[in-house]
């Protein structure tokens, strides 16, 4: 009878076999990820498959921490690791120690993944971009303190504007931990409000060398920065995540220096120009006002201000005369009408009739005698003539024939 083994003993034995195998303890496999799960413990669980087979994979936290991209279903990957037995499950599994995207570089993929993620979160949105101050007095530069980059920036900066304050925060610009350091520098300058604008600068390099500027921690710091940030990383053709999050992307570090300050001489000229234009405009205005005044003073009413009054006076006199004349004429006609009437009245005046030799006879009752029948014989009558009266006695009454 053979020796009886427990399940555990058998499993252990198989596990040992696996570990003695050179290929299984260090194998390189390509395949496609499916059923990917990131457990709360930090370990990654997924299956790797091709058209015909699948193998379960567990990538422990210790190893997956180093991944710069995010594994996801459907992604074709190259894995290096070992195959072992999962005793409690009675299954064999692949334990990746290293993984990279098949085809694309892992950095490239990581870049694309982070870019998509941050874009979805809105970190690149134009609405969050701050304006770069027009005339910043204090310019912060986070970069390597040695090398061409800082020299280029200083040259351009002080050529354009000789009197600015340049504050350099020296950092590593490549390698492990650089992203964190740059992010920290940015946070520190913000906390101390030590600059009016901040330039992140690095010269050209490979994607690997530029990597710190593609790290999420730096992207978050740039987004959080209350001081406007200019990203000037690599050459004109290099794009980094920091370029997308920053308030302004400069194609090169020297270009950043060009963008960050205006040219002082040009500004001075501009201001002097404005002064000259001001003076010229005012002088022109005064000249025009003078001309206008001269024209006004030539106008007749201003040159002979009494003319008008004299004219009015003449007019007034004429009017007066016309009124007088009118009155006179009126009076004359009234007078002539009066004298006609007077003539008529004169003719009718009985005294005038008497003067022509007529007389008036009145009875003793002072009634004018108009008929012989008004008088009888022996009546006393009074006869008025032009210069007196005669008292007469009627001797006879002889009616006319």
């Amino acid at each position: 009878m053979q020796q009886k083994l427990t399940v555990s003993q058998l499993t252990k034995y198989i596990k040992q076999l696996f570990s003695y195998d050179n290929l299984l303890s260090n194998v390189c496999v390509t395949g496609e990820i499916s059923n990917f799960k990131l457990h709360s413990s930090g370990h990654m669980y997924f299956t790797l498959k091709d058209e015909h087979s699948v193998i379960k994979c567990v990538m422990f936290k210790t190893y997956n921490r180093r991944l710069r991209f995010k594994p996801e279903d459907g992604l074709k990957v190259i894995i290096r690791g070992y195959v072992s037995i999962y005793e409690a499950g009675g299954s064999y599994q692949l334990y990746p120690e290293y993984m990279e995207p098949d085809g694309l570089g892992d950095l490239y993929l990581a870049f694309e993944q982070l870019k998509q993620k941050l874009e979805r979160e809105g970190l690149f949105s134009a609405e969050y971009k701050k304006r770069i101050p027009f005339l910043p007095a204090r310019i912060g530069v986070i970069t390597s303190p040695t090398g061409a980059v800082i020299r280029d920036i200083m040259n351009v900066l002080f050529r354009r504007f000789p009197n600015v304050v340049l504050k350099i925060f020296p950092v590593m610009v490549q390698g492990e931990g650089a992203g964190k350091q740059i992010s920290r520098a940015l946070d520190m300058i913000n906390k101390a409000r030590a600059a009016d604008v901040i330039i992140l600068a690095r010269g050209g390099g490979s994607l690997e060398e530029l990597w710190p500027f593609n790290e999420e921690i730096l992207a978050r710091s740039i987004f959080k920065s209350e001081i406007p940030v200019i990203s000037a990383v690599g050459h004109e053709t290099d794009f980094s995540i920091s370029d997308f999050v920053a308030d302004l992307r400069a194609p090169t570090p020297s270009a950043a220096a060009e963008l960050v300050v205006p040219e002082k001489d040009a500004l001075k000229r501009h201001i002097m120009d404005a002064r000259i234009r001001l003076k010229r405009a005012l002088a022109g205005k005064i000249q025009r006002e003078k001309q206008f005044l001269a024209q006004l003073s030539k106008s007749p009413s201003l040159r002979h201000p009494l003319d008008k009054i004299n004219q009015l006076r003449i007019d007034l006199e004429q009017l007066n005369k016309r009124i007088e004349n009118a009155m006179e004429r009126k009076l004359e006609s009234a007078a002539s009408r009066f004298s006609v009437a007077f003539g008529k009245m004169d003719a009718l005046n009985p005294l005038n009739v008497l003067s022509r030799g007529y007389s008036i006879a009145r009875s003793s009752g002072k009634k004018i005698i108009k008929s012989v029948s008004d008088v009888k014989k022996d009546d006393m009558i009074e006869i008025t003539i032009t210069d007196g009266s005669l008292m007469c006695s009627v001797t006879d009454v002889m009616p006319g024939t």
């Binding site: 027009f134 303190p145 800082i150 404005a274 002064r275 405009a281």
Partner: protein, 76 residues
Amino acid sequence: MDEVKSFEDAVNQLEKIVELLEKGDIPLEESLELFQKGVALSNYCARKLDETEKKIIKLIEENGELKEENFGQEAQ
């Protein structure tokens, strides 16, 4: 006229004033006022340009605080 908030603001105001004056259709008294404002703004701008003094400073972190030091000859 608004308060001057910054150099840029001053330059913008100055430009506006120059344009207004150049149009010439503003009464003389107002023109004089604008002119005075313009001159004051241009003085301000000219002064502002020379205000700062050239300095190169090195920023370092010390015990969690930002410190300023003179920048050496490393990059000069």
